[in-house]
Amino acid sequence: MVKNPYLPIPMHILRTYYESTDRSLKTLELSFDDPENARAFFAAYNPGQFCVLSVFGKGECALGIANAAWEGDFVRFTAQKMGSVTQTLHEMKAGDPIGMRGPLGNGFPLEDWKHRNLVIIGGGCAFSTLYALTKHLFHPAVRNDYGELKVIYGTRNSGLCMYKQDIQSWHHRDDLEMHQAVDVPEEGWDHHVGYVPNVVKEVAPSPDNAVAIVCGPPIMTKFTLSALTGLGFAPEAIFTSLEKRMKCGIGKCGRCNIGPKYICKDGPVFSLAELNALPNDI
């Protein structure tokens, strides 16, 4: 009998908390009902991958994974209140049952990035998988495989910044250079002010032996990609993670393609070089 790829793994909600002061972003941490599923999950998991969460009676929605494997036997997601499934996710509480399919997609090509400097650039709620990536890199067994680490994270305002405590502490770490930005000036804000592409130009990371990873809303991504190109990053050294309406998550239901590539199965992470070869269908 083949494994049924549509059948969700039984999970329970461990805890939930709001990420943003406007309560539009909520984080859910899920635990596995069966430890065997946890083992299988973490054996396959690579930062940058996503899962399809299953709210029985409402449907499914795809969300990026927001934690590193070393954090523990749970899976973290941050959901923006948007469609009917995410609305229900926002109403769910610790102890509620939930289904999960994944990890799906390919995640970041971490092997290829070894011994290079990493520039991690995120905007808004799309920062979740980059958060997972950064946390992953913090692990002592991993960190030495990579060079310098720069993180640039922008949100519309400071209230919308996710994972606040952690990110606050990153400013004091000596193994990364943290840049935070808000779109418009705020009282008491002592980091960057401005849109992410402009902050990238301001910080001007060096393209030498470096890889840049960009996740954000489409308009931010678009301008950040050109800012990076302007700084001298080659298309092969710029990566982004794409989102589209997804259903199956395994390249069967058809809808998430850009040209011949399915975001779920062939992505969601693509290099700019790969994207440039695809038709304009985003």
Binding site: N4, P5, G59, K252
Partner: protein, 339 residues
């Protein structure tokens, strides 16, 4: 080497099979042909020279199928179909080939689809060739033909009072084990019928180099021209024997997770929760349909995702004809394009 099935014996044969198989064969629904269950006692609708309206892909990938049942405690119970072995009798070569193409999508090495697999594995396809092709048929253009055998366990040729049966697999041989061999004259007659039919189908468009032309004309104004007439309904894709896109939805009243056919021709297909739509107009949606079949299928499995059954041509309510569309692309200069 073929065998002979006298038409008068068909009912008996079907009722014999019915003891150990579920049988589906074209019968009359309203006034058109439709695959329905039979045990041999129903009147079949296979001597007509045209195909069923609704594609037999639905016997493998039903338009709506329950993937699982769930409870409010979150437990999900899969509902893989369990059935007797099945025979699809009277499937046309274009549709049998389409099932073969769907195998490439659903019986994959990774993430094979257990629902499709359960149905496909248990099903034998007994095909019937087309003595008189319709003017909308273009099977020969896309590597099939009115007597194509791909995907079938046996192929029948209609010779007035008898069917000439060509078994193609062990299953086919077993099913027709009791029937006598055809004479040389009968074989020759069948061959003549087949060749006559083949000659009646003109090449519809050039497939060589077509993918390159489509790829390099992604932004061509032709897409808008086709989309102008398009109503944006789902006929071309729902009746297509190879279109397989689906949606997954929870039907809360029944506590079932269901997969339904979906179509790139619908606005909602690619509409995101944020209300952003990467294919906002009929232009992008028409393009997706054609590109998927004649370009992306080739990227994925090196096959054209069309078997020339002609349903999209016959039933389009505004007479949009994929053959004419592709001919227009063929006439473009590949290198000039891209703008």
């Amino acid at each position: 080497m073929s065998q002979i099935l006298p038409k008068k014996n068909l009912k008996q044969l079907l009722s014999n099979w019915a003891a150990s198989y579920e049988i589906y064969a074209p019968q009359q629904l309203e006034k058109f042909a439709h695959f329905m269950p039979t045990n041999g006692s129903e009147l079949l609708y296979i001597d007509e020279q045209h195909n069923t309206r609704f594609p037999p892909k639905a016997l493998f990938l039903p338009q709506s199928e329950t993937l699982m049942k769930y409870t409010r405690f979150g437990a999900a119970q899969e509902t893989i179909p369990e059935s007797k072995p099945r025979i699809v009798f009277g499937i046309r070569p274009c549709d049998a080939k389409a099932v073969d193409l769907l195998n490439l999508m659903f019986l994959t090495e990774k993430d094979s689809d257990p629902y499709y697999q359960a149905r496909r594995k248990k099903t034998a396809l007994i095909g019937i060739g087309c003595n008189i092709p319709c003017p909308s048929c273009f099977c020969t253009t896309v590597e099939s033909g009115p007597f194509g055998r791909q995907g079938m366990d046996a192929l029948l040729t209609d010779l007035e009072d008898i069917y000439l049966v060509r078994t193609l697999t062990q299953t086919g041989k077993t099913l027709f084990a009791e029937y006598p061999e055809a004479t040389e004259a009968q074989e020759a007659e069948a061959k003549a019928v087949q060749q006559r039919s083949l000659k009646l189908i003109d090449p519809a468009f050039e497939t060589k180099g077509l993918k390159a032309k489509l790829d390099s004309n992604f932004e061509n104004a032709l897409w808008q021209k086709f989309a102008d007439s398009c109503l944006g309904c789902g006929i071309c894709t729902f009746l297509c024997p190879t279109c397989f896109c689906f949606d997954i939805a929870d039907e809360a009243q029944r506590k079932e997770r269901v997969r339904n056919w979906d179509t790139c021709m619908f606005r909602t297909y690619s509409l995101e929760a944020s209300q952003h739509n990467p294919r906002p107009t009929r232009r992008e949606r028409t393009r997706q349909r054609v590109m998927h079949k004649f370009s992306y299928w080739l990227d994925h499995v090196n096959k054209i995702g069309c078997t020339g059954c002609g349903r999209c041509v016959r039933y389009c309510p505004v007479g949009l004809d994929i053959r004419a569309m592709l001919r227009e692309f063929n006439q473009l200069e590949a290198e000039v394009a891209n703008g």
